[in-house]
């Protein structure tokens, strides 16, 4: 599918950028005229993916997080979140709800939220190479007021 518009973003894996990343994606997505709820769902999913790159992918190191965002036909948006971090040994296991390698303060729900709050989720990962999460979401077409 041809992208009607796109943006590419990268920043170091420091936790203040979690809020920035989801705000930037939201600022791009408003072009598709989503509802408040749809936009909030997308922000939540992006927040999960970016947080994972920061705390799991790069753990105690600092690396770069990449976001590639595309507006596709029919009100679809695609958001790719990439890191060159440690990667995931077993993606299937990692995606199970409640599974976490990070102890008591993580709920193990990151992937579950990404799946639930978007319409398509693909995770590609290679141990030692990094992880790419591709999410797609369709915003409902809005009936426009004429007044």
């Amino acid at each position: 599918m041809k992208a009607m518009n796109e943006m590419h973003l990268n920043f170091p894996s420091i936790s203040t950028n979690e809020g920035f990343a989801r705000a930037a994606v939201a600022a791009f997505a408003v072009q598709l005229d989503p509802t408040v709820d749809e936009l909030c769902d997308l922000k939540t999913a992006v927040s999960e993916a970016v947080t994972n790159s920061i705390i799991h992918g790069y753990r105690d190191t600092i690396g770069k997080v990449y976001i590639d965002c595309k507006l596709l036909q029919d009100n679809w948006i695609q958001v790719k979140v990439r890191d060159h971090g440690c990667g995931i040994e077993n993606v299937e296991q990692a995606m199970e709800p409640l599974y976490t390698t990070a102890g008591d303060e993580r709920a193990g729900l990151g992937f579950a939220v990404m799946k639930n709050f978007t319409d398509k989720l693909k995770v590609q990962s290679k141990p030692g190479k990094g992880t790419t999460v591709i999410m797609e979401k369709a915003f409902s077409p809005r009936v426009r007021q004429n007044g």
Binding site: S15, T16, E18, G19, R22, D37, C40, K43, T44, S47, E48, T51, I54, I55, P97, D104, E105, R106, A107, L109, G110, A112, V113, N116, F117
Partner: protein, 122 residues
């Protein structure tokens, strides 16, 4: 108040703590993610460890955004409170955060309730 001359662009503080008898109330505000959850967690735990309240109330009334880090925050506080047989109540969860809350099955783990703004704030 005088120090606050600049017009605010950012959040108010992500957590304010109130102790009333054996209840510690944490008024949360703004966006809860992995970044802000750390500050909130540290503030709550430091006080909770000291005063060992019978009840910890987490008030989400002013929370505008929350990802699964907020779920982790609640679960972590439940574990802490269990150490001295205390319990956690989640208060004023905004309707738009209900989805992530029920995904996590939190309703089975702690008490959820609504209270009027005026009662909960000082």
């Amino acid at each position: 108040m005088e120090a606050e001359e600049k017009t605010e662009t950012q959040e108010k503080r992500p957590v304010r703590l109130l102790l009333h008898e054996d209840t510690l109330t944490a008024l949360l505000a703004g966006e809860i993610d992995h970044h802000s959850a750390r500050e909130i967690r540290e503030a709550i735990d430091m006080t909770a460890m000291r005063v060992r309240p019978a009840q910890l109330v987490l008030d989400f009334g002013d929370v505008r955004f929350m990802d699964s880090s907020g779920v982790g925050l609640i679960l972590g506080r439940c574990k802490i409170m269990e150490m001295w047989q205390g319990h956690v109540a989640v208060q004023n969860m905004p309707p738009k955060l209900e989805r992530i809350v029920s995904m996590a099955g939190l309703h089975d783990l702690c008490e959820f309730r609504k209270v009027e703004k005026d009662e909960s704030n000082e």
